[in-house]
């Protein structure tokens, strides 16, 4: 994987968290991460867990909340395996919690 794993220091740019409900199969992470990577849009942090019976997963992406984000959102919504996208302004407590592990 490419930019999904890179963490940059662009701390001045405000952050947003995208919460995606996706179909759970082996290619879905490639679809989501590949979309951001090939449009040169950095993903700062990512988390993914299966939901309920495992047919769906939930993905959280921490991204820069810049003026390209609305276009990225429209592109994400077009992915066949993405069932819903919720935008959260700012950082998500999920990632603040995860940060504990890399301290």
């Amino acid at each position: 994987m490419t930019s999904c794993e890179t963490v940059t220091k662009d701390i001045d740019i405000p952050k947003a968290t995208l919460e995606l409900s996706v179909r759970n199969h082996p290619g879905v992470m490639s679809h989501v991460c590949g979309l951001f990577a090939r449009r040169a849009f950095n993903v700062d942090a990512i988390a993914c867990v299966p939901e309920g019976d495992g047919r769906q997963s939930r993905i959280w992406l921490m991204v820069s909340d810049d003026d390209r984000l609305p276009q990225m959102l429209r592109q994400v919504e077009k992915l066949e395996d993405v069932l819903a996208v919720v935008y959260h302004g700012g950082e998500h407590p999920l990632f603040t919690g995860l940060a504990e592990y890399v301290r």
Binding site: P70, R74, Q75
Partner: protein, 554 residues
């Protein structure tokens, strides 16, 4: 009923109404080919390179508007298909591409002819599948056809491991054939806002893209423009949306558009973009495109709105539905002053077609072919100078009359796409304009054309050069022509004859016009060869990155 995965796949393709597929077999696709051999409803056209198979399927899809199928084996079969599929993605052509894959247990072991087809196809398709269980095939195939045809059309790739093709599955019945998803209802407030913008505009211009063609909206848009009196420029992909000789038609805009077309856009106070995506070749420098204009943007793909240019009013919907709903809301208004201005610009900055009277010159060849074949013919091009000249000068009068590689600009598109068009619509003449650089990139498909006996004519403008590259080097790289001129050129006439084609050399014809007419009337594949001058530039031209009105020449 108990079928193999491959037999089930063939039944599903038949069920979807597929009559012709193009492809090349290979180890991991053999179960599928064995099942295809049993089908009496699907005709397989054997291409000579998988890229050819992809473009044959594209040719069929572009003339019919229906989803078409190409097939290849794993490894090199899949990688050879990539270019044709990427091309279909950028030009929104509905395809289903099916490849064999090594057996499930061998995936990830660097097995013979294994490549990560799923990973490779991911960024160039609308969606892709690696089928892990033959029982999934009905759902996958139905979804693939639905996705390819829905909304903004595009290619879908299905990769099927060999063991999935040979696995037995119980089948009770086939699913209903897929149809395109319904488009959400229109927002009447947005329609009303658009109607008011049009009503109040003094200098409106329509900007028609390929979406007008793929939406089947050409007649509706032409009627809309005519009733309200709005001139219309077309993109490369939009040619044919409005008849070229319509009084409101402004021809093609963009890098090689006519000066009057680009200058009329410069003066517009309202731009109505219909099924167009503000591509850099069409609009030049984005911030300086139609600087005085408000924008109404109509497109079926929500992600196109506000991508390059923020719309004053953006409407998501099928172009045809939107235009039909918008039309009655806009009162007709006489804009005599604007139309006079348009006429004046057209008069003072016309498109020049040097040597248009000489049938053995580029523009003359185009004119002569147009005079000979009429509107029923399908006109295909490769990519380069000949393509831009045909786009500028050919009198396109109907949608799907014109097939060209717009977004990806793939040299080698022309011949196989022409074969596909001829297979899908055998009643039409298919004429492919090409250049020597482009033709060499898929010349092996001459064998396919000869084998199928398709009525394809290739008009080869041979300048022994990569003409458009040479042109850019001469204009923007200090005239240093490097790696663009061929020091040795093959004998295309002998090559064509060797493939079983009839060949005509206009260089040796005393009466080239008569020779062209005779060659076009002949049935079956014919090469019409004509030497042209590499020093002749396609003009006018907007330098890359410049505003549309900063044109060179013409």
């Amino acid at each position: 009923m108990d079928l193999s995965g491959a037999q089930l796949l063939v039944r599903l393709l038949e069920n979807q109404g597929i009559e012709t597929v193009a492809g090349i077999p290979g180890g991991t696709a053999l179960p599928l080919y064995d099942a295809l051999a049993e089908s009496n409803r699907i005709r397989h056209v054997l291409a000579r390179h998988e890229q050819g198979a992809g473009f044959i399927a594209q040719g069929m899809a572009r003339v019919t508007g229906q989803v078409q199928v190409c097939i290849g084996t794993s490894g090199p079969g899949a990688t050879n298909l990539l270019t044709a599929i990427a091309d279909a993605r950028l030009d929104s052509v509905p395809l289903v591409c099916i490849t064999g894959q090594v057996a499930s247990g061998a995936i990830g072991t660097d097995a013979f002819q294994e490549v990560d087809t799923y990973g490779l196809s991911l960024p160039i398709t609308k969606h892709n599948y690696l089928v892990r269980d033959a029982a999934d095939l009905p759902g996958v195939v139905t979804d693939a056809f639905r996705i390819a045809a829905s909304g903004r059309p595009g290619p879908v790739w299905i990769d099927i491991p060999k063991d999935v093709q040979t696995a037995r599955v119980p089948v009770c019945c086939l699913p209903e054939p897929a149809v395109a998803d319904r488009v959400p209802p229109l927002d009447s407030d947005l329609l009303e806002a658009a109607a008011r913008l049009i009503e109040l505009s003094d200098r409106p211009v329509l900007y028609l893209g390929g979406g007008v063609i793929s939406s089947g909206a050409a007649a509706a848009v032409t009627a809309f423009a005519a009733r309200i009196g709005i001139p219309a420029a077309m993109t490369l992909m939009g040619l044919g949306a409005m008849p070229a000789d319509h009084p409101l038609a402004l021809g093609m805009l963009g890098m090689h558009g006519a000066r009057f077309t680009n200058n009329i856009l410069r003066e517009a106070d309202l731009l109505i973009a219909v099924g167009a995506r503000f591509d850099d070749r069409a609009i030049g420098h984005a911030a300086r495109f139609c600087p005085e204009a408000s924008v109404i943007h109509i497109d079926i793909d929500p992600s196109e709105l506000d991508k390059i240019r923020t719309a004053t009013v953006g409407i998501v919907g099928a172009v045809k539905t939107v235009i039909e709903a918008l039309g009655p809301r806009v009162p007709a208004r006489r804009r005599g002053k604007w139309l006079l201005r348009v006429a004046a610009l057209r008069e003072t900055m016309p498109l020049l077609e040097p040597d248009g009277d000489d049938p053995a010159s580029p523009y003359g060849l185009i004119r002569t072919v147009a005079d000979c074949v009429g509107d029923d013919a399908v006109i295909v091009t490769d990519v380069g100078q000949h393509q831009m000249r045909v786009a500028q000068a050919y009198p396109f009068r109907r949608p799907r009359q014109w097939l060209t590689s717009g977004g990806l600009g793939t040299m080698g598109f022309g011949l196989p796409a022409a074969i596909g068009a001829a297979l899908a619509e055998p009643g039409r003449k298919v004429v492919c304009f090409s250049g020597d650089g482009s033709l060499l990139m898929n010349i092996q498909e001459m064998a396919t054309a000869a084998e199928e006996g398709v009525d394809v004519k290739v008009v080869l403008m041979n300048n022994q050069s990569l003409g458009l590259v040479q042109q850019q080097q001469e204009l923007f790289y200090h005239r240093r022509v490097f790696a663009a001129d061929f020091r040795k050129s093959p004998d295309f006439l002998t090559i064509a004859r060797g493939f079983g084609w009839h060949a005509v050399d206009l260089d040796r014809e005393a009466r080239p016009r008569a020779a062209i007419g005779e060659a076009l009337r002949r049935r079956g594949p014919v090469l019409i060869h004509c030497s042209v001058d590499a020093a002749e530039h396609v003009l006018p031209m907007v330098p890359p990155g410049a505003a549309l009105t900063e044109m060179i020449g013409g």
